[in-house]
Symmetry: C2
Subunit: 258 residues, 2 copies
């Protein structure tokens, strides 16, 4: 059984930030350094990546793969469930360096060894063909948007609009994540009271803005703005956000609870 | 590492039959007896199931699950990839007895232990939701056909039509599997020559009958007649089969190769 060592945790700060690169501490004899590039629950994201020298870098990019340009050369292994930016749940994208593949432990169960899949060109077993086909269509769509550079530009505009809507009404909306750690994919915030958060979700729903309730483990509001969400969708959202505090003021809900 | 013992094999007979129940031999101290209920390549199928007494019975039913009625009480574990009769590839159906589940080896990797999935109501990880949804629609369709009893009746008619078409032209078509082992799902046959088999596949294609080429490892002709294939489709197929030998006689292809 392998032993894991924690190179950084912001648990004490309720996970509201990712580390500065200088804060990451790990022994030099580790097999690899693992991190998750985007935290969908708290709404944090690595904007730069650890430089690990000879230590292989491994990343779970399930929730921000294909949202921005990426220098694959820095990674030994990237894995990403498709269900955010790539296609339907049930497909997983794996990018692995040959030299890292060669170092894999022998004797693992067949389906737990990436070599099984590289040796068979990902056709060891019947693949989830529908999901793979949809992923092809999604990647063609990404291409039509100008590739990752084009998608990145749209995503930058989307998150800028949302965070700006939060920060310009900072007495009402409070971003959950530390500014330097803010996610481009999951924008999280709190309102003055939970009652107001419930009203926010309900009123937004009436305008066709769905799924804004934060993850059940943390509450609050969460905008999950994966590639499929358009700039127009975000514009509609920030228009609603600009109106909402006024609506609450009029209905006298904007008082702090006693 | 567990050791497998072969309880029966028809390898010497090119897998053209499944065992008679009396032929199955295995030691009494085995953890379970495993068999695959339908062989898609050779076109054989178990029409009755081993009675194993206290030895748990485990079956891979990937290619005939939901094609006929089944007494689940006889099995400790049934597993079936969805992609034949249930839905798109990427979903797997598992039916497991609680007492068999309790006997599972401890310390296996999380994703290799059925307990992970029973404990979490199959929601340990993000499930392949599209496939699960399609499976729901397929099961509703099965219900609309009169449930498994209704589907079984249709499937019986389908295979009767096809095997009858083979046997009534026995000088031309030769069923690959032994009669008692014939599959309801994959009907396999040979023609006098491979050239005729190629012509059969090509001519059938012109009439909209697709995918009749046998598995690349065995050749010949294979009709895969899963639930989605209708009785009308089969009627069209046997009409073509009745005409085909005459067409070949006229074109003088029906001579044995020199």
């Amino acid at each position: 059984m392998a032993k894991a060592r924690v190179a950084f945790s912001s648990k004490e700060e309720k996970y509201r930030r990712v580390p500065k690169m200088s804060e990451i501490k790990y022994p030099e004899d580790v097999a690899y350094l693992h991190f998750c590039s985007n935290n969908t629950i708290e709404g944090t994201q690595f904007q730069e990546f650890p430089e690990t020298g000879k230590v292989p870098l491994v990343a779970d990019m399930s929730s921000d793969m294909a949202s921005r340009r990426l220098d694959f050369k820095n990674f030994s292994l990237i894995y990403a469930g498709a269900q955010k930016n790539l296609g339907p749940a049930g497909v997983t994208l794996i990018v692995i360096r040959n030299d890292f593949l060669a170092k894999a432990k022998q004797g693992l169960p067949t389906m737990f060894t990436y070599k099984t899949f590289t040796d068979s060109k990902s056709l060891y077993n019947t693949p989830p063909v529908f999901g793979v086909y949809i992923m092809k269509l999604v990647l063609e769509w990404v291409k039509s948007k100008g590739g990752l550079a084009g998608v990145e530009k749209i995503n930058a505009s989307k998150k800028d609009l949302l965070y700006s809507a939060i920060d310009t009404a900072a007495d009402f909306y409070k971003g959950s994540a530390e500014k330097a750690s803010r996610s481009w994919m999951n924008v999280t915030m709190r309102l003055p009271t939970e009652a107001l958060e419930d009203k926010f979700v309900a009123d937004a729903k009436k305008e066709g803005l769905l799924g804004l309730k934060g993850h059940r483990s943390v509450g609050g509001i969460r905008f999950s703005i994966y590639n499929a969400v358009s700039l127009e969708d975000i514009q509609k959202t920030v228009d609603f956000m600009a109106r909402f505090p006024q609506v609450c003021l009029k209905s006298k809900m904007h008082n702090k609870p006693k």
